[in-house]
Amino acid sequence: MTKITYIQPDGTEIDVHAREGESVMELAIRNNVKGIVAECGGACACATCHVFVDEAFADVVGAPGELEDDMLDGAATPREQTSRLSCQIKVRADLEGLRVRVAPEQF
């Protein structure tokens, strides 16, 4: 089980344990992590699961794909260097300890 930490805009940290292959979005929804809306259920069609990946993990998580990149341009909170749509980040063992900040607005 891989540990993922979500950091809320107010600084609260939530640690959860992920199953291999589920997305960082699915993990959040399953654990009722506030602020991840996921309107489209993971189809990369709504940009309401926006997170900022901690700098230390940016390389191992990687850059957004083309469609995801386009969707991030339309995200409610302006995108940052390490912005990703959490539905597009699949949990893997090498993401152990991943920290992501939940975007303050998804609308």
């Binding site: 309107e39 259920g41 341009d73 339309g74």
Partner: protein
């Protein structure tokens, strides 16, 4: 086994006039209930509607062709497929409706149309009908541009859209409605043929171009999904624009907040979509015996996902029947949820929230509904008003 709630008191006539009192009662008494007059299970709670969208295997969009008025009217589009085929078709249309296409192509169109229709509204003068003079033709022309059609008047696009919707709603299987649907399909095909040829030579950001250049779509797929876009991409925006003007007249507190800058157009847009959801209900077919919020639903039942009701669910929204800007609860279901969430969502927001409303606010002084108390909203599956006389202060 607990009894299935049966809401035999629900009357379709009443729903069409004003569904909200019906929704209030269902939300309290039986948020999942079998409604005999409709022969379907209506799901009105926010939680129920969301759960349905999380399980497209049980709650399928597939529909058999022979029993589907939508398929008879439009052909089988992405809206009547489940994943993976749905996702393939959705991915095919997506490039034309995304933020990048909007900033590259559609934003300019929205402003150009605002120039045109603001002039027309000014020329028509105070007392003009906002829906007929501005909202309906604006939305029609915007759709024409986004589709990639040339030389189609607003009147023609409105005729096409309304006729296809009549076909989709043709539950009594009236033959005359099919005659008109087929007429419109031929007319669309003639224009679409030319558009297809054009985009094959020169790709662009249009819906036709995205569909034509996508992998794995047949000619029939292209046409079915163009028809879907025609039926779905015009009435809702025109209804929301009109409703926003009405809401800001009817609710002076909200008006004061937007005028002072305390509230944003985004808040007005989302709250209007929640309060007067332009799409009220859409169906799903139950593929296996299941249970939803403790209610047993048999295989082959039809479920109505009543998002307009979910948007007034007191378990999810504080003071749900009050128009409130800047709500805590930001999520609403006016654009649906899950894989079939509205593909036109970005376009609708860019058009209305980012262009139309700010432009109207800057070019009209105190634009408002003339007689808001006389405005008639109708419908429940689709709901809106087709008539809104407006007034404004003219400079001397």
């Amino acid at each position: 086994m607990p009894e299935v709630p049966v809401a035999d008191w629900v009357d379709v006539g009443q729903l069409t006039i004003n569904p909200y009192p019906v929704y209030s009662r269902l939300l309290v008494e039986s948020p999942v209930a079998y409604v005999p007059q409709l022969d379907r299970y209506l799901v009105t709670s926010f939680e129920g509607c969301r759960q349905i969208e999380l399980d497209q295997t049980t709650f399928s969009s597939f529909e058999e062709e022979r029993s589907s008025t939508m398929i008879r009217a439009l052909g089988r589009s992405m809206l009547r497929h489940d994943d993976p085929r749905h996702q393939e078709l959705r991915a095919a249309i997506a490039p034309s409706l995304r933020p990048k296409a909007i900033s590259e192509s559609w934003n300019d169109v929205f402003h150009r149309l605002a120039d045109t229709y603001i002039s027309r509204l000014k020329a028509a003068g105070p007392g003009a009908d906002f829906f007929t003079v501005f909202a309906a033709p604006y939305a029609a022309d915007a759709l024409t541009a986004i589709l990639g059609f040339d030389g189609v008047s607003a009147e023609t696009m409105m005729d096409w859209s309304h006729t296809l919707i009549r076909g989709i709603s043709n539950v009594t299987r009236d033959d005359e409605v099919w005659v008109q649907t087929d007429r419109v399909r031929s007319e669309i095909d003639m224009v679409l043929d030319k558009a297809i040829q054009r985009v094959q030579r020169t790709p662009d950001n249009s819906v036709v171009s995205s569909l034509v250049h996508a992998h794995g779509l047949s000619d029939e797929d292209v046409r079915n999904n163009v028809r879907l876009a025609i039926s779905g991409g015009m009435n809702e925006p025109s209804h929301v624009m009109t409703s926003m003007i009405w809401c800001l007249t009817e609710f002076p507190n909200a008006r004061a907040k937007i005028e002072s800058g305390e509230a944003t157009w985004s808040q007005v847009f989302e709250e209007t979509a929640r309060f007067h959801s332009p799409v009220g209900m859409y169906p799903r077919k139950v593929t296996r015996e299941t249970e939803l919020l403790g209610v047993h639903i048999p295989k082959d039942a039809t479920v109505g996902v009543v998002v307009a009701a979910a948007n007034r669910d007191p378990s999810h929204f504080n003071n749900p029947d009050t128009f409130v800007l800047g709500r805590e609860e930001k999520t609403h279901l006016a654009f649906g949820n899950g894989p079939h969430v509205c593909a036109g969502k970005w376009v609708a927001r860019a058009m209305i929230r980012d262009v139309v409303m700010p432009r109207l606010a800057s070019e009209f002084n105190a634009l408002k509904a003339l007689i808001p108390e006389e405005t008639r909203f109708t419908g429940w599956v689709f709901r809106g008003t087709d008539n809104l006389p407006v007034t404004w202060n003219q400079a001397n």
